[in-house]
Each structure stands twice: as C-alpha cells, then as structure tokens.
Symmetry: C2
Subunit: 328 residues, 2 copies
DNA sequence: TCAAGTGTGTCAAACGGTTGATACACAATA
DNA sequence: TATTGTGTATCAACCGTTTGACACACTTGA
C-alpha cells in the first residue's frame, strides 16, 4: 500500500503538503493541489485510517453488542444501525454476546482497547453496576441503566393495544407469555400492561413465563403445549415476541384449534418471520429502523459531546392487523 | 485512558520494560513483572490496539460485505462468522451493500483504508474484473471470481434432491422459481439441476425467474399469483429460496390450494423463517455455521500466507422433510 | 586483572499520518 | 528603507506501541 511518503516523493512535495491537500488546510496553490491529487490517483493512494485514528484519538468506529444477530429483531436493527452509522462516516463492529456475561464483559474490554468511539448495548447479561465507570459513550437498547441513554419502544401502549384487541374480539380466556421476570427490561411493561388491562376487564387471564433468555423454538413449542394442556379454555394469546406467537400458531394447528376462529394470537416485534407466515401474524410492530436511527443519533451526539444528559427515548409501536385475529 | 507511559511512570520502569512484560520478550525479573502487572491492573490499563495495529501493520479486523444482514441467511451467516473470527482473535466489521454496486465499491475502499486484514465478500453487484487487483485477502461467499477462494454449498445436489423429491411424490407439473439469470452465481446450479432432472423425467415443468435481486416479499407474492394464473396445473414447486417458498405457501392458501395434498413446496436455504412456519417448510438446508466457519478459516489462512492457491469449497446440503410435501 | 557472559533495563527509531511553528520570497504599506 | 502581510512549503513533534541496539552492573573463569 502506498503511503503518504510515496505520494510526496512522486509529487515532489513534502509530506506535510500532501496532508494539507487531503485535509484542505493552510494555503495550497492550485497547481500543487492538482499534482498531488493526480499522484494520489495514480498510486491508488488511500490514507491509512489506523494512523489517522492514532493521531486524532478517534476511530470512527462504533461497537454494537447484542445477544445474537441471527435473531430477526437484532438483524433488522443492526441493518439500520449500520446504515445510519455509515451515513455519518462511522463503521460498525459487531459482537454477539450470546447471553454470556463473561463474553459481554470481554467484548466491552476489547472494544475499548480497539478505541471505538462508542458502544450500543443491546444485550442483557451484565450486571447494571458494571456499567458505572465505563468511561465510554454508551446507548442501550431496551435496557434501563441509570445515567445511560436508552432507546426503547412504547411497550406499555403495545401491551395495552394487544390485550384490548383480544378483549374487543370476544376472547373469554386470554393468556400472555412473557420473557423471564428476573430480567428487568422495559419489555416488562408489555406484561404489566396485559395484567392491568386484563385485570380491569374481569375476563379470565393467565400469565406464563419462558425460561431464562430462552429463544429456542422447540422450547417454545413445549411451553405452549403445556399451556394448552393446563388451560384448554384459552382462546386468545398475547405473546411477548413473534417467535413465541408463531410457536402458538404451530401448536394450535397440532391440537386442532382453528386460528383465528377458536384461538386468536397477537405477537410483538413485527419481525420478518411474522410478516411472511401464513396466516400472517397479527403483531405489535416496533419501528426498528427508527430505533436504530435514534440509537446511532444519540450515540453520536454523546460522542460529539453535544448531549450530556442521559435520556430515555420511547418510540411508538404499530398494531399490525394480521390474519391470526378476527377482523373487528 | 491510561497509556503505557502512565504504567511505566507509576511502576518506575521504562516504557520498553512495560512493553516487554506485556509481550513476554527479553529478560524481565519476576519482581519487575509482578509490579508492572499490578500497576496495569490498578490503572485498568488496556493497550491501545490502534497503536499496535499501526506498528504491526495488522489490525486483526476482517470486513464482511453482504447484501443485507437483515436477510436471515446472511444474519445467520454473520452470526457464525463473528463467532469464528472472535475465537481466532479477530473482530468483524459489517457492511450492507444493499445491492448497490457503488456502495460495494466504497465499502471495499473504506475497509482497505481501515487496514482490515481481509474481506469476506457475499454481495454480488460489482463486476468480476474489479476484483482483480484488490491486493487484499478475499474469500467470496457464493460467488465465483477467478483466482479467489469461494465457499458455497452443493447447489447441484440440492437442486437434484428437491426436484426428485417432487417427482417421487407424484407431482405432474413442477415449477421452479429462480433468481435472476444475469447474475452468474453458483446458486444457478440449483436451476440447472432442476432443468436436468425434470427434463429427464419427462414430467411437465416450468421455470420462472424473479426480477433483479428482488427480495421483497410482496413482489414474490405477485410473481407467484401470476404463476398460478398462467399455470393452474402446477402441483409442485421448488423455490430457490425459502422466502419464495413461503410466498408460494401464502398464495396457495389464498387461492384455496391445499398444501401438501394439492400442492407440494420445497424451498432452499433452511433459514429460520422456514423452520418456524406452519406448516413447517420442506427445504434444502445449507450448513450455514459450517459455511461461516470455512469462510473465516480460509480467509485466515490466506492472511497468514499459509494458503496461496484459490480453492472452491463446496459444502453438503441437507434435505429437511417439512410438512409442505407429502410423506414419501 | 580483564575479557566474556548474563541479567536487567533504557534509548531512539519506526509505523503513517497531522499540525503548530517557522522559513522564505515577494508585494504592499508606513 | 523598514515593517507588515500573504502565499507557499518545510521541519519537527506527536499519537501509543514495538523492538533492535546498546548500556550498565555483576558474576565467572582464564
């Protein structure tokens, strides 16, 4: 790879001059500028970003730590994070924490020594107080950490809409399947909303919980099967994520419950699996592109020290009327 | 962030000594070593990888350019690429080319000036000869470029298995929907295999093509609807990807064709959408974890200059007997 | 007594850039 | 004529780390 020295030598100017041409600083005559650009072109020269980063103490890289990119929600999120980052001159380094607290810690260390300018944190395994003296711009996704800006959806509204939708459509026994309760995340508001709306309605309702950070479809199927064995009267399910909702759909088919006539299902997230399923899954869709965009924007404004106060960004959700519920 | 100078000062030794301790070179007394480590701990010191990269001319970063991480296949692929890279001390920078040749080119430039040690290329929009003097270790995913190592699946076998499966199950008019023909990729072997097996069987068969790099579900639906209008006798479909297969499933439901009794469907890829759909999609599953692992292994061996010759790695596929075909 | 080894640690250059200080030539102004 | 300003380009220090060359103090053995 050609270096700035090669360009300087070839163009018969000093290294400084080449640098000045690139960075548009100081006085440079048009002739010199042209010549330098010509040589840069000819040598196919690209400035070494590592050297630049070292001097500038700025890498223009952000790290994204999530549980697993292969989960649709995170895949879609990362897709838009990358787009927004790129549009702002940043590169994205990706890390799958895989629900392993040790790995998450190591990733943070690694990103820090790689001199990333900031981190988006979407995984949930580290203890809250480990973040305290992180000394690095951080934005969390769906995780409340004191003093750290957080991007999340309006889980409460989503939960209310979903629950009310089941009630409005005549369900007599509604169930909610939620993630593990010991994890304190904003997503728990979905569950709280269900409990509240269902409770106020007087309609029979049941709440189930998946085991710790479980995301395996087969485990979901087992859980749902057991649910129907124990509560055969359930005729409406609000699942806290779309995969869970798809598991309900599968089990319903297995045990011969017609969807939506005998059983109505609403998921949460609005991921691709829900969109392409047949029947199309009704769901509370999060605005993933906007969440990603906001995450990056917030992070960049912390990096540039424009914003200093931690805030919580709550984005609206949208009710997707799929075919797993009755038309109203 | 503490630097090596801070550590040296605090430990009352020279910077060189600290470096030697970290890198285990030269003579260091046990006492000095202990003290240096203690100070490093105390200051929470992490060596600056940017400075190291500059000196070593090695960043330990690989770039991954794919069309879009939000497509399940790539999401799952990246998940395992990251894992394998991490296990070997490499970080992953992710780039979504979004089927934009210009963006792909820019990403390559950007990765090169970021001094990545190598690139995995899974996108398809740049012209082949643009890769010629890339001067950087590259491995492609599903793309044949002369002189470049390529990782792919056994598309031919997959295509044969799928086609034969439809024939064996009594289909009288089988269709294949393929990606755009103008793109020369190993995935085209799926189509060739279909044409050959179907042709040899004497059974009526039809081949359709999606428009250029189309990956939008609604466009798929339209295409499939049109297909059934023009060829109502189709009773077996081999789709070149699972999303297309799911679109067939959806349209089948719409027009009242029972799956699998009146219409059998087989997809390709084995992505999550196919696994969680109801009925579960029959598909030819690619071994995504292995593809990812091989890609990284190959790239690392090119980086370390162990391997110098470009090879083609063809990995086995697996027939997943879903519920969209009849039991044999 | 002195050369040769050995254990310990320092100096300074290098990696590829950026930038404040400075030099120089020339023109305009006091 | 001396001063100031301006357009141009260079010098050298710096970013944080690594490493070959070297210095020093102690043995050790001839």
């Amino acid at each position: 790879m050609a270096s700035i020295h090669d360009v300087a030598r070839e163009a018969n100017v000093s290294v400084t001059t080449v640098s000045r041409v690139m960075n548009n600083r100081g006085y440079i005559s048009e002739a010199t500028r042209k010549k330098v650009f010509a040589v840069m072109d000819q040598l196919n020269y690209r400035p070494n970003e590592v050297a630049r980063s070292l001097f500038r103490k700025k890498s223009n890289v952000i790290g994204v730590i999530i549980p697993d990119v292969s989960f649709s929600f995170f895949a879609e999120y990362v897709r838009y994070v990358e787009e927004e980052a790129y549009a702002n001159g940043y590169k994205v380094m990706i890390c799958n924490a895989l629900d392993d607290g040790q790995k998450e810690r190591e990733y943070i260390r690694m990103l820090r020594s790689s001199q990333v300018d900031g981190i988006i944190l979407g995984s949930h395994t580290m203890d809250i107080h480990e973040f305290e003296n992180l000394q690095l711009p951080v934005v969390t996704l769906d995780r409340t950490v004191p003093g750290v800006t957080c991007v999340t959806s309006d889980n409460d509204a989503g939960g209310r809409i979903a629950t009310q939708a089941l009630l409005d459509r005549g369900c007599q026994h509604i169930a909610h399947i939620r993630g593990p309760i010991e994890l304190e995340t904003p997503a728990n508001r979905r569950s709280d909303a269900f409990a509240e709306v269902a409770g106020a309605s007087g309609v029979k309702h049941t709440i189930l919980e998946t085991s710790n950070n479980e995301f395996v479809f087969n485990a979901y199927l087992k859980l749902v099967e057991k649910m129907f064995q124990e509560h055969p009267s359930i005729d409406g399910v609000f699942a806290s994520n779309d995969l869970l909702a798809l598991a309900v759909l599968r089990v319903a088919k297995m045990i011969g419950k017609h969807v939506p006539e005998q059983l109505q299902i609403i998921g949460f997230d609005g991921v691709h699996e829900a969109t392409v399923s047949t029947p199309q899954m009704a769901t509370i869709s999060q605005d993933i592109p906007l969440m990603a965009k906001e995450s990056v924007q917030q992070l960049l404004s912390i990096i540039s020290e424009e914003s200093t106060e931690a805030i919580k960004i709550v984005l609206p959700v949208q009710f997707i009327h799929g075919e797993t519920i009755l038309p109203k």
